[in-house]
Symmetry: C2
Subunit: 231 residues, 2 copies
């Protein structure tokens, strides 16, 4: 090892997905999409919708239309997205924090580990979950509104890393969906999968997860596996 390589690497920075990763909202999103799609006479089973959650609102609608062999114009797609948001808001009262989410964020802050949230949802849609987590206003949050392309494009994580002043190669992306892990690979970050969004472990591993944990509480118990020191 040469001398300039022997100096300590910085602690990794953490880039968190929101729905299914910190907040238990995936199942409500599934049924909200189902409800919205049926208004356009598009019938897709819940498990199929589930597997697309985590893509951005634009990409997810195109995936649904392709599967259902249907076409909608831009106005109809915008209407569908609005209906989904409304259907989700009807269920938002039942959304909870995932086990250990606050503890995990507190552990990282206590250790001086930088972290940010990067969600494919809109800023409006992220308001309620962030309130649920009781986060300070100065926590760095990147939403769909801040970037041109959402997951599985890497833009959200790139923007979040930039906001933290972190290099992507020093970042850990934590997400529950294959879209988070694909985006992590495309951003050259380390991807950590959580089962708490209801995806299967194989799906997360096959999408490039370095490690898979049950939920934020389980990740909090294994931070040394990700390179966090001083726990």
């Amino acid at each position: 090892m040469t001398e300039h390589n022997s100096k300590a690497r910085p602690q990794p920075a953490f880039l968190f997905d929101l729905d299914g990763t910190l907040i238990d909202s995936v199942y409500q999103h599934v049924l909200a999409w189902r409800e919205a799609l049926e208004t356009e006479d598009i019938h897709l089973p819940n498990w199929y919708i589930h597997r697309r959650i985590g893509m951005s609102g634009g990409l997810i609608v195109h995936a649904f239309l392709r599967e259902a062999k249907r076409k909608l114009d831009a106005k109809e797609i915008a209407r569908l997205q609005k209906l989904h948001t409304e259907a989700f808001m009807k269920r938002v009262e039942t959304v909870r924090i995932l086990p250990g989410a606050n503890d995990l964020l507190e552990t990282l802050s206590r250790l001086g580990v930088r972290w940010a949230i990067a969600t494919s949802g809109s800023r409006e849609g992220a308001e309620q979950p962030l309130k649920l987590l009781g986060l300070d206003k100065d926590v760095p949050v990147i939403t769909r509104d801040d970037v041109q392309r959402a997951k599985p494009d890497p833009d959200l994580f790139l923007a979040a890393a930039r906001k933290l002043g972190a290099s992507l190669e020093d970042c850990v992306v934590v997400g529950d969906s294959i879209w988070d892990l694909l985006a992590a690979q495309r951003a050259r970050a380390l991807g950590v999968g959580l089962l708490s969004g209801g995806f299967g472990e194989d799906e997360l591993m096959n999408a490039g997860a370095y490690r898979v944990y049950r939920d934020p509480a389980d990740l909090n118990m294994h931070l040394d596996e990700i390179g966090i020191r001083g726990i």
Copy 2:
């Protein structure tokens, strides 16, 4: 091969699970259990509840209580099960048939393949889904009320096979949950997994699935892999 082994084996008989296998009701059951559990101040994430769907109402409640490190008496457990049924009935209007379910059952009937339904649900709870499928009253249906122990015990599938006059070794159990596949192994039947309940493919394979398909439509396209002739 000796002569007495060379005579043709009978066509397999099919034993179908209902929720998540023929009917798209798993996600509604998840949120209904969540709602019921919270009335007892028991907080479990949706993905965890999801992974226990398909167990019988008695076993599932004990699994929930163990995970939450809680104890309830028999009366409270009965109350919880009743609350779950009520919470599910509020959502039953949104339950749909899974793609290809009716086609699959018609294909089997047309080919003279015997089939039955074996669900861990109660007879009362199965009424609406069976109506949705538009099944004749004489279709053999075994529910939780007909046996002493439900999945992952093999009793439901044993009773269904008996009703068809089929030997278990000639039966194919089709289900979406690991509980169906574990029960299939314990009944010495061949287990076929469907992704349509939202379990991961690895979970179904690890529980002993001989093959895994997307949904009833996909299984209907691959019946020759299960030993059905004359399609």
